[in-house]
């Protein structure tokens, strides 16, 4: 009898270990952790508060060169900044595309210079209307912005 019990005593440790390890794994599946859910709700509610941030100046954080500090660049860059931050929100029209036409123009001028940038901006403005919208591919709609994806890099 003694000989039979010794292996059982040794195995008990292993069995206790198995019990402790497996029971929480099986049992944890169906519970409601109210505290962590409350914390999640608090965090998400704070994230959903709209943050009003200014859209940046076209040549922001760029080293001063003739290209970005001549009077023409300053006037047009400044006008674009004023339009994007103080004027566009008062217009009832909203852009079909993402990025918006003004952002597209800003990126195009930065990326391709004044000639190609201006031509691309005119092209985009001429495509931003209800008639052109009938010709767009619905598969290009961005699921977050709900607008047609039309970034500058498509026109390289």
């Amino acid at each position: 009898m003694q000989n039979l019990l010794i292996p059982v005593k040794i195995n008990n440790v292993l069995l206790y270990f198995l019990f402790v390890l497996l029971v929480p794994v099986a049992g944890s599946a169906q519970t409601i952790d109210l505290k962590s859910d409350l914390l999640l709700m608090n965090t998400v509610a704070k994230q959903q508060v709209p943050v009003s941030s200014k859209r940046p100046y076209i040549f922001k954080n760029q080293p001063k060169t003739f290209r970005n500090s001549n009077p023409v660049s300053l006037v047009f860059g400044g006008s674009l900044y004023v339009y994007q931050n103080y004027f566009s929100q008062h217009l009832s029209a909203s852009c079909l595309y993402s990025p918006s036409c003004s952002d597209f123009g800003k990126h195009a001028l930065k990326e391709y210079g004044i000639v190609k940038g201006t031509l691309l901006s005119f092209d985009r403005l001429s495509r931003c209307n209800r008639i052109s919208a009938t010709d767009l591919n619905p598969a290009d709609i961005d699921e977050h912005t709900h607008r047609f994806n039309d970034p500058v890099k498509l026109y390289q």
């Binding site: 198995l18 794994v25 505290k35 409350l38 998400v44 509610a45 959903q48 508060v49 009832s92």
Partner: protein, 291 residues
């Protein structure tokens, strides 16, 4: 001693069956518990595909939805939970699915639908002890939909459901009544009122919504465009006046109305986040460990 041995043999027997038949469940559950929610969701998807009965499918869908919830993909979580139907409300999974659905509706910015789900559960379920899990979500949803009296009553009901001493309960009830007092409630801006104000006088809706600067800019833009149109018509330039002037005025006037509504909604969102944060703090400090 022999009973101990028998118990462990039974345990080993059951455990072996569990491990053998549900090795995948253990794998996906361990992925879930270790915080690898994306990998766990893929594993659960595989198990939904391989499941042979509706009970298993429902359970794996529920677990997959939990993975999405932890990843912050509340819309996807709802898509998993919505098709689950329980003909028997006594099903052990029913309250969990209803709870997660209502929570995900709230987190997805749809408090009215969360309330609808909670009401459905309260109506169908016979186990009133489970209501305390739903009450915090219900209170926050009622706040978001500005139903103050009902939110206050729900919070009082929640406090009464906790196992606190009578003194603490009285103290908490006073706190609740104070928080929901007329003075302490957030002053909600009416979107319709903001829009109507802007319709009557451009810019006034924005001022009502708390953005004075934007209101003044909107008024100046509208006034200057209208002046331009008037001067053009007065001087005989009818086409410029009507098309360029009034056409542009139409855009800024209606844009201002829409913007006033948006600003009022944003202000409300900001106010509600602050108020709900206060309520959540009360709930957190007075919620027992319910795991």
């Amino acid at each position: 001693m022999q009973y101990t041995i028998k118990f462990f043999f039974s345990f080993i027997f059951l455990c072996a069956i569990f491990l053998n038949s549900s090795a995948s469940v253990v794998k996906s559950d361990s992925l879930y518990l270790s915080g690898n929610y994306f990998e766990a969701s893929i594993e659960y998807e595989r198990m939904i595909f391989q499941a042979k009965n509706n009970t298993d499918i429902n359970y794996f869908k529920y677990k997959k939805a939990l993975c999405y919830k932890h990843m912050g993909r509340f819309y996807d979580a709802l898509n998993e939970l919505q098709p689950i139907y329980f003909s028997n409300p006594a099903d052990s999974l029913y309250h969990l699915v209803c709870y997660e659905q209502s929570l995900c509706f709230y987190l997805n910015g749809e408090p009215a639908r969360a309330l609808w789900k909670i009401d459905e559960f309260f109506h169908r379920s016979t186990d009133t002890t489970l209501f305390r899990f739903f009450l915090p979500v219900k209170i926050l949803c009622l706040n978001e939909t500005f139903q103050w009296e009902e939110a206050k009553n729900s919070l009082l009901q929640y406090v009464n459901m906790q196992d606190f001493s009578p003194e603490k309960k009285t103290e908490l009830e006073e706190t609740v009544l104070n928080v929901y007092g007329r003075k302490n409630r957030p002053r909600i801006k009416s979107e319709k009122k903001a829009e109507n104000l802007s319709r009557f006088l451009p810019g006034s809706g924005q001022i009502y919504a708390g953005k004075e600067g934007e209101g003044v800019i909107n008024f100046l833009i509208n006034a200057s465009i209208l002046t331009f149109a008037g001067i053009q018509v007065y001087n005989g330039f009818y086409i410029t006046g009507y098309l360029a002037g009034l056409g542009f005025f139409n855009k800024t006037y209606h844009g201002g109305i829409r913007r006033a509504g948006v600003l009022a909604a944003q202000k409300n969102k900001e106010l509600m986040a602050g108020f709900n944060s206060e309520i959540t703090t009360i709930l957190l400090s007075n919620t027992e460990e319910t795991k």
